[in-house]
């Protein structure tokens, strides 16, 4: 019997505004408890919400990026439940009229690229946090996060594997950072995911009973939890049981999901339009103004990098996984058009990214990398030397020192490649003299020893010899009569 999994994701994207969704308190992370919660966030008597224009603009930006419908009128509604981290006893959210509807995100599916529907994206305020440690059996409530703007992005139930879900999530993660509407920090909860998972017989058209998995704060957890949940549900069904509609929590330590509450405990949220807030009206001019500031989007940019620079798709995809990286790559080429795009792409996705991943921001200025790659391309320095210089530049960059000019650095470190044939001849002669055994073997037809000779020469020259020229010189010298030997 074969089964098909059906997965839908609800992602909470924390919008990168300066202030909160309905108050002028700072929307920041890491302050002492209740230091960035103002009277509005605390739900004091008499306070009123006033919506943040920028949060709405960010939602529009997101909708435009998905080719979604931006509703001209959207309504904030109150969603009621009692919980200590929800100070007003209700959350201001959007219910019947969300701001964004019917968008599409292209993902790399199990059977190639395909569109996933973003059914809706709505604005809502985040809740605070309850802490349970070291309070003598009580819980403590910190409302700093209360009121932070969230965009809840709801996909259709259209993914069929943990890998697809992971891909959707990464694409979404890239997009929201690309648009500058979210910092994407999953540890700090800026990008949180709940997954709805069900399974059905292959070919069935009706959806199976789903469970909702909460507390998924990394890509890996999402994939592990979904994979686990699919297996669990199949096992239940194959043993003749029934999957229950329930909410489950993922336990990262055990790699399992476990039951949190069932459907019978489902809430009666008593949604109704917030009487403190008239409808949000978005006119065409506002949308057009935002459309004009939209950057080239990741998919379009990837296609362009492939087409204009002849980059392989995987490399173009990697470069466009982050807008800063893509910008960086193109900035390098802009400074030194003579640098071959493939070389620049290899270095950016290779050496630069490796250094960057190890240490974090900032990157070596693109102009310096461009000069470095130009020198490499011109044969002024070797690949090895280029790597060494990049590391020095990176260190200076990390320590906030003024970075040295690339050419100055080449000379200071003595890394300028030796291209004077007279000097190289001397080197060739010295290596030949020192390795009679290998010379003899070479002459007897062991051609691959040429690389050995070049390597020895490079070593002796501390990497400064031009390996290409050295190879030519060795070949010519050893092909000629063994003069004076």
């Amino acid at each position: 019997m074969s089964w098909e999994a059906v997965i839908g994701l609800e992602v909470h994207v924390r919008l990168a505004t300066a202030s909160k969704l309905f108050s002028g308190a700072a929307s920041s992370y890491g302050a002492p408890p209740n230091a960035t919660a103002c009277a509005v966030d605390m739900g004091l008597p008499g306070v009123l919400p006033v919506p943040n224009r920028e949060a709405i603009a960010m939602a529009i930006r997101f909708g435009l990026a998905l080719g979604a419908r931006i509703d001209r009128q959207s309504v904030f509604a109150r969603k009621h439940y009692f919980y200590p981290d929800l100070p007003k006893g209700y959350q201001i959210s959007q219910y019947e009229q969300p701001i964004v509807a019917d968008g599409v995100l292209l993902i790399e599916g199990d059977q190639g690229e395909r569109p996933i529907t973003v059914v809706r994206a709505h604005l809502e305020e985040d809740a605070g946090k309850s802490l349970h440690e070291g309070l003598g059996g009580a819980s403590g409530v910190d409302l700093n996060r209360a009121g932070t703007p969230l965009l809840e992005v709801v996909s259709g139930p259209e993914m069929h594997s943990a890998a697809e879900a992971g891909h959707y999530l990464r694409k979404l993660h890239t997009l929201v950072r690309w648009l500058g509407i979210c910092d994407g920090n999953m540890q700090e909860g800026s990008f949180r995911c709940d997954a709805n998972v069900s399974v059905r017989r292959v070919g069935a058209t009706v959806l199976g009973t789903r469970s909702e998995i909460k507390n998924l704060n990394s890509f890996r957890f999402v994939e592990k939890a979904i994979a686990y949940e699919i297996e669990r549900q199949i096992a239940v069904l194959e043993s003749g049981g029934r999957v229950e509609q329930e909410t489950r929590l993922f336990d990262p330590a055990r790699g399992e999901t476990r039951r949190m509450r069932g459907k019978e405990e489902a809430m009666d949220y008593r949604y109704f339009p917030d009487p403190d807030l008239l409808p949000v009206v978005i006119d065409e001019a506002w949308i057009e103004a935002i459309r004009e500031t939209m950057p080239e989007l990741p998919d379009a940019r990837r296609a362009r990098l492939e087409a204009s620079y002849g980059l392989p798709r995987a490399q173009a995809a990697l470069l466009t996984s982050d807008k800063d990286l893509a910008d960086y790559f193109e900035a390098v080429l802009a400074v030194q058009p003579a640098v071959p795009p493939a070389l620049a792409a290899n270095w950016v996705t290779g050496e630069v990214l490796a250094l960057h991943r190890g240490q974090g921001a900032p990157l070596v200025a693109p102009a310096r990398l461009a000069t470095l790659l130009a020198r490499l391309e011109q044969g002024v320095i070797s690949r090895l030397a280029a790597k060494e210089i990049l590391e020095v530049l990176w260190q200076q960059c990390q320590q906030g020192e003024p970075p040295e000019d690339c050419d100055t650095l080449i000379d200071r470190l003595g890394l300028r490649q030796v291209r004077d044939d007279a000097v190289l001849h001397e080197l060739v002669e010295a290596i030949i003299t020192a390795n009679p055994q290998q010379v003899a073997e070479y002459r007897q037809g062991k051609d691959r020893l040429l690389g050995y000779f070049v390597g020895q020469a490079m070593k002796r020259s501390a990497g400064r010899g031009d390996p290409k020229r050295l190879g030519e010189l060795f070949a010519a010298r050893l092909a000629a009569a063994p003069a004076g030997e």
Partner: protein, 486 residues
């Protein structure tokens, strides 16, 4: 002192130097102390704060730095407005110890004009009531007859002004809470257009209906204070951007030919015929002033009470969800679970009327009932608003009695909520439509004041005030004081 009844007159006295703000403030504080036990109109009297503010006002005057016509004039705030550092109880045990960390916009704006805050007035708990008997701090008594109610929910504000314990007070009006007590206490009370005055810092009852108002001796006094509190507030997203006219200047505008629609349905079955007769006389006076009085209709008026008693409790049930004993307010002793903390704090902290309305409001919003009750009430609200709209095609102002009867005896209606709700039958439709309305004294029945309600189109406060002012120039009902306090 007793001659200086109106703010206008007090302001003139301060300007001429015939008295100081300190003298005025002491005068009202002394009267408040003297009558405190009889009326129970204050929840908090801030003697020290008032004297300090008065002293500051006198100093400004001595230095020629007067802030305006209200500088140094004492006032009272309904205890629903947040006042920084003072108790703000909303008439509830829930907030009996609550000191607001900020000032309501109305409070801040009046303070910025140099007004001297005497204290906070008693009110129905969370403004839910029409008789001031639901207050946790006990009922307020009507200065005209201490065995009767002052009306509600702004009963304390109405009583302090009527008894001369304060020259002017703020109130709030969700279904008549400014106009009905003003009528029952023989003073003037304005409920502005929804959005005209900021609701920031005014503890919410029903957000789409609540509006701050002024309760005073005269329409001219209301104009002076409305000038200060009206206008856009960045902290209230529903506050209106419409320009604020010069209300004082408009008081003298010519009124001849103005069409006044006397609404038939305002004289419904529950109406005391004697009250109706007084209002008819008042209508005749307006006719003598050159206004054209004709008959008008609000045919859907009978839907207003049921509509209101769905919408207001629904919004209230939501607005009052924040009182959970966690961040402020009453907290029950020794709760063993979160649920118990919530349920016991709320059950012990709220009084019966509040609990009843939360229950009804929760019910009409709950799954399976939302469409039949809440949504249907919103549709009915449309009907009522349209009704007013049509009536205003034939008339510039609508008129009727503010309340169906004069002040009733304490306890007369406490056992029968529906009878109590009827007290607001003529005021509630105005809130549903968001319109401005004023109640002014227009006569007496058995020594108890009768209120005349004038209703205007949105943002036509200046017209209402001008009509009321002209009426008060032609009559002296607003100058009468209850004997026991004169």
């Amino acid at each position: 002192m007793t001659d200086w009844r109106s703010v206008t007159e007090l302001s003139r006295a301060l300007a001429s130097g015939s008295c100081s703000s300190m003298e005025l403030t002491r005068h009202f504080l002394e009267r408040s102390a003297r009558f405190a036990g009889r009326l129970n109109a204050w929840i908090t009297v801030d003697e020290a704060g008032a004297l300090a503010a008065a002293q500051a006002a006198d100093r400004r005057r001595a230095h020629g730095e007067v802030l305006g016509p209200l500088d140094g004039i004492p006032l009272a705030h309904k205890d629903i407005f947040c006042t920084k550092g003072l108790l703000t109880t909303c008439g509830s045990r829930m907030l009996a110890n609550f000191k607001a960390p900020y000032d309501a916009t109305v409070v801040a704006r009046l303070a910025a004009q140099g007004m001297v805050l005497l204290g906070k007035t008693n009110m129905d708990e969370f403004a839910m009531g029409s008789s001031n008997e639901t207050s946790y701090f006990g009922p307020v008594r009507n200065p005209w007859d201490e065995g009767r109610v002052p009306g509600g929910s702004s009963g304390g504000s109405a009583a302090v002004v009527a008894a001369g314990l304060a020259p002017v007070a703020t109130g709030t009006d969700t279904g008549g809470s400014v106009r009905q007590p003003a009528a029952l206490c023989g003073i003037s009370g304005l409920k502005p257009t929804y959005g005209r005055v900021s609701r920031y810092g005014m503890i919410a009852f029903a957000s789409s209906l609540d509006q701050a108002g002024i309760m005073a001796r005269s329409a001219a006094d209301i104009a002076l204070l409305l000038q200060v509190i009206a206008g856009l507030d960045e902290r209230d997203a529903t506050s209106a951007t419409a320009a604020v006219p010069d209300y004082m200047a408009h008081l003298e505008h010519p009124l001849a030919g103005l069409r006044v629609g006397v609404v038939d349905e305002f004289f419904g079955p529950g109406m005391d015929g004697r009250v109706a007769a007084v209002v008819e006389q008042a209508t005749a006076i307006l006719g003598n002033l050159g206004l054209r009085c004709t008959s008008a209709h609000l045919r859907e008026l009978h839907l207003a009470l049921p509509t209101y008693y769905i919408l207001a409790p629904a919004e209230a049930s939501s607005n009052l969800a924040r009182y959970d004993g966690v961040r402020y307010g009453y907290r029950c002793a020794e709760a063993h679970s979160l649920y118990e903390l919530y349920a016991r704090s709320r059950s012990e902290g709220f009084g019966p009327e509040v609990k009843r309305r939360i229950l009804i409001g929760t019910y009409v919003l709950s799954r399976g009932y939302y469409d039949a009750f809440y949504l249907q009430a919103q549709r009915a609200r449309h009907l009522i608003a349209a009704d007013f709209h049509h009536a205003f095609e034939q008339a510039d102002i609508l008129l009727g009695p503010t309340a169906p009867e004069t002040a009733f005896a304490l306890g007369a209606k406490t056992a029968d909520p529906l009878a109590m709700y009827q007290s607001d039958i003529n005021t509630i439709p105005v809130n549903l439509a968001g319109l401005p309305a004023i109640s002014i004294p227009c006569g007496e029945v058995d020594g108890l004041p009768v209120g005349l309600q004038l209703i205007g189109r949105p943002f036509s406060e200046e017209l209402l005030l001008a009509v009321a002012h002209r009426f008060q120039q032609a009559t002296d009902y607003h100058r009468r004081l209850p004997e026991a306090f004169s």
